[in-house]
């Protein structure tokens, strides 16, 4: 069942949580690099500053795409936290990301163009695994609804460990962390300047930043679902996974897109077939 209260809570509170996570991310990264790093509230100050800047655009449509990006991302997260259908969440997420890509295309500039193409390659890389993750959750709990999966007592992680690991692998791509930050990187320069976000500035860029916060909370919620049968374990898992991502980010160099796509697909194929086949036969040939 859909719980509209949770949806509203998500829309209002998730940016705060997401921003905090981003700030903690930067602090931990800094310490890993032997630095002091910024305050954990830095992302909020960044967004605040961006809203104070003038919105210099290449053309007016960019602002529209940035707004669509944040609206649909918020919508996606709202569906997820309201307990909606997981597949619908994934499709809505794709829709939101398409808007960012279209915004990059709309600017008709070389760097954002290449960034857009590479963003599409990223999407193509992780999409199979994300769908298979949802399918794995369904096979384990017999439901696609987040509300059912969150309330389950089935030890999901024991049934779909392979799929969980595959999901963590593509999580690196989705969180735009090295080695898979092919299309735009948060911290560093890119071979393609800022890739997808090159031609956005001021308030539009602020909205994109806030959308990333929404997305982070959504993705961590997805990770939580694998451990929903024991909420404490779930929170611990989320923290450990995110720390792992930060570690991977700091210890790896960016790879070529071919390696990103091929490895994601190979892993998705292997864990998908093995895990789902195992579950299929364990259930006696019935899904």
């Amino acid at each position: 069942m859909i719980n509209i209260v949770w949806a509203i809570v998500f829309v209002l509170v998730a940016p705060l949580i997401g921003g905090l996570i981003a700030g903690i991310d930067r602090k931990i990264t800094a310490h890993m690099q032997g630095r002091v790093g910024p305050s954990i509230f830095q992302p909020f100050w960044d967004v605040g500053k961006l809203f104070e800047k003038e919105n210099a655009v290449v053309n007016e449509t960019q602002i529209f795409y940035a707004i669509c990006y944040v609206v649909f991302m918020a919508f996606t997260g709202a569906i997820f936290f309201a307990g909606g259908n997981l597949l619908l969440v994934i499709f809505a997420l794709t829709l939101a990301q398409i808007f960012l890509v279209l915004g990059a295309y709309a600017a008709n500039s070389p760097y954002s163009y290449v960034g857009a193409e590479r963003e599409l390659l990223q999407i193509m890389a992780y999409e199979p695994m994300v769908i298979l993750a949802a399918v794995g959750l369904y096979v384990a709990t017999k439901s696609f609804n987040v509300s059912d999966i969150a309330a389950t007592t089935v030890p999901v992680i024991l049934l779909v460990p392979g799929i969980f690991l595959g999901f963590i692998y593509v999580l690196t791509i989705k969180l735009r962390k090295s080695p898979f930050d092919i299309s735009t990187s948060h911290h560093a320069h890119q071979e393609i300047v800022k890739g997808v976000t090159t031609e956005f500035s001021g308030p539009s860029l602020a909205w994109i930043e806030i959308t990333h916060w929404y997305e982070t909370v959504l993705l961590l919620g997805f990770v939580f679902l694998f451990f929903a049968f024991s909420p404490l374990l779930g929170i611990a898992a989320v923290i450990i996974v995110y720390l792992l991502e930060i570690l991977i980010d700091n210890t790896n160099a960016r790879v070529k897109w071919q390696l990103a796509v091929k490895s994601s697909w190979l892993i998705a194929l292997v864990v998908g077939v093995v895990n789902l086949a195992a579950l299929y036969f364990l259930n006696g040939g019935v899904s």
Binding site: A56, V58, I98, L276
Partner: protein, 638 residues
């Protein structure tokens, strides 16, 4: 109007229109005949729907059945002679061989077994036929109207091509007649007849321009479809000899898998060739040389749907059988490989062709699985794909006339150069893969259906990968169209009224069908499923509300651009600091003006046709052989 008369009217009226189109020499006469006929056909299809949608399956006995049968056989032989003549003239010996075999089989049947076959009701109408009739009647008619403007422009700009428009439009309407006949026929002999007529129409229309390439591709389409036709005749013969002479579709579906499986497999094979599944995909890609209305009508929204239509009809037979499973696997692999190849194509029509093949593969996969959820997904896929793909083909045709190119890389900035047509294209592309539009809903249902099927996880994995590929090549194209090249000139000019009518109608249909799909599901598809499989689906209200919200947002947000606001400061795009114009002209070294050309990733080394197609051909050929052998073996054992 009585139901029988209405059905006969829908089959025969386009023929009358075809006759008048053949003799109308003036453009104005042709315009009027086409528009009027299209309107009549459209209204009649809707009227049919309104009067029969809640009646379930209605079987109709056609009184002069034996005479009709004789006429059909006569026409079949005539067509065979015609094809034989053409095959010999153009020295296409494989076509000659195939048509000889096919005619021999049909002759053998007609002489020795036809008298022993008696079908009670030759025509019928049910919810599925109604849906197909709507597609033929509305989308088909719209495309015929579009052709008026398109062919006028086509011949004005290609003065060297012989102007055979009377004949062109006549064949278009002949085709519509045959399609109506196909979906209303209960007698398999009649289905076969109309099937062959559509093969003929496709052959004639592909070769319209009479260039060597067109002629070759026309014969290519012909021999592959003839192969399917032979399978069809073998099925008919088998039914006559071993199947107790059961020739009615409704009867066959109720006799059960013991008798029906072998004919189902053979007719399924015929469906695979007509729907251009691997290994028979090359004819559809080659058919893209034909004028765009042909591609839109025959090779995406209607004729190829006949192939999947017949496979979906046999879905209850295919369910839970090895045969059905293999057919589903052929469809799924076609979906995967065709989607991959589409990434590497830079010609817009080829992308559309491979996308069509891929989506037909998905429908075949659902039909092969055959559970009620899968068939629900299949039928909805048929509906939404027909609308979106025809919209895309028509828009591509109109754009091609303006930019003189079919290459996607030349479509950069179309939203500025041809705003209205570009908007139509974007709606079409969005309708193909984005939530909350119909194709996405169907794909969603397909995932759900696959999971619950035996060994379903294999299909889900294939679907997941194929779906990811479709996101890539569709968004690539959409991005190109939506690039804002502020310096470009608007070259839209006056879009011919007939073209504009078709485009806007189809765009509107995209939205409307997405909006009312719950209604379609409840009123049409579910009763059909209940009658044929004993189950019906349910889409929860929550999900429907969410999707309506998304649709609402998608419609509302673009309108927000129109809200007057303070204009922002415009700056140039970033080119490493070089001053650049809006169309990316910058001063390079030594002050030389350079132009930037942005081209998409086509990933040839990984997704090229040369790489992926052989894999598909070998895999699917093997699967077809195994499927036919296994079916026969099982049939013999039984």
């Amino acid at each position: 109007m009585q139901l029988t008369q209405l059905l006969i009217f829908l089959i025969l009226f386009p023929l009358i229109a075809a006759f008048f189109l053949l003799i109308a020499k003036k453009d104005l006469e042709r315009d009027w005949i086409v528009r009027l006929s299209a309107l009549v056909i459209g209204v009649a299809s809707v009227y049919l729907l309104i009067t029969t949608f809640d009646k379930g399956a209605v079987l109709i006995s056609f009184i002069p059945a034996a005479e009709a049968g004789v006429v059909m056989f006569g026409l079949e032989m005539l067509i065979a002679v015609f094809i034989l003549y053409l095959g010999i003239t153009y020295k296409k010996w494989h076509v000659v061989a195939l048509i000889l075999v096919q005619s021999a089989l049909m002759l053998y049947f007609e002489l020795f077994y036809a008298h022993g076959v008696h079908v009670e009701s030759n025509l019928f109408i049910d919810e599925f036929s109604n849906i197909m009739a709507m597609i033929i009647g509305i989308i088909g008619s719209l495309i015929c109207v579009y052709s008026l403007g398109y062919m006028k422009f086509f011949h004005e700009s290609h003065k060297e091509m012989p102007d055979k428009r009377p004949w062109f439009f006549a064949v278009l309407f002949l085709f519509l007649s045959a399609m109506f006949g196909l979906v209303f026929s209960n007698n398999l002999l009649w289905v076969y007849f109309f099937w062959e007529v559509t093969t003929l129409c496709s052959f004639l229309l592909i070769g319209y321009t009479k260039t060597p390439e067109a002629t070759n591709n026309a014969f290519s389409a012909l021999w592959m479809n003839l192969l399917g036709g032979i399978a069809f005749t073998v099925a008919i013969l088998w039914l006559a000899i071993y199947g107790g002479g059961v020739m009615g579709l409704s009867d066959l579906l109720t006799t059960g898998k013991a008798i029906a499986l072998i004919p189902a497999a053979l007719i399924g094979f015929a469906g695979l060739t007509k729907a251009a599944q691997l290994p028979f995909s090359s004819w559809l890609v080659g058919a893209m040389v034909a004028p765009t209305p042909v591609s839109a009508l025959l090779h995406s929204s209607t004729m190829v749907k006949a192939g999947v239509y017949i496979i979906v009809r046999f879905a209850p037979i295919f369910q839970s059988t090895f045969t059905g499973y293999l057919i589903a696997m052929i469809g799924a692999l076609t979906f995967l490989i065709a989607s991959g190849i589409a990434i590497s194509q830079s010609n817009a029509k080829r992308v559309l062709a491979y996308s069509t093949i891929a989506n037909l593969g998905l429908i075949v996969a659902c039909a092969g699985i055959g559970t009620y959820e899968a068939v629900w997904a299949a039928i909805l896929l048929i509906v939404f794909h027909a609308i979106s793909k025809s919209l895309l083909f028509l828009a591509t045709g109109t754009v091609e006339h303006r930019i003189k190119s079919r290459e996607i890389d030349d479509m950069n900035g179309l939203i500025v150069r041809t705003p209205k047509i570009a908007a139509m294209m974007v709606i079409g592309i969005a309708g193909m893969f984005l939530a909350p539009f119909g194709m996405l809903i169907s794909k969603w249902a397909a995932i759900q259906a696959f999971i619950d099927a035996p060994f379903g996880f294999l299909f889900v994995i294939i679907l997941a990968f194929g779906s990811a590929m479709t996101v890539f090549f569709w968004t690539k194209w959409m991005g190109k169209i939506l690039s804002v090249t502020s310096d470009s000139k608007n070259i839209e000019g006056e879009v011919d009224k007939s073209e504009w009518t078709a485009l806007t109608a189809l765009a509107g249909l995209s939205f409307i069908t997405t909006l009312v799909f719950p209604l379609i599901s409840v009123k049409l598809v579910d009763p059909f499923l209940l009658a044929t499989t004993g189950h019906a689906t349910s889409f929860t209200l929550d999900n429907i509300i969410i999707m309506m919200l998304m649709l609402f947002l998608i419609v509302l947000l673009p309108l927000s651009i129109m809200i007057p606001h303070r204009k922002h400061r415009h700056v140039s795009p970033y080119m490493g600091g070089r001053t650049t114009t809006q169309d990316l002209r910058f001063s390079g070294s030594l002050g030389v003006q350079k132009k930037t050309v942005l081209s998409s990733y086509y990933l040839h080394p990984y997704f090229g046709e040369a790489k992926l197609r052989p894999v598909g051909i070998w895999l699917c050929s093997a699967l077809i052989v195994i499927m036919l052998l296994a079916t026969v073996a099982k049939g013999v054992i039984l």
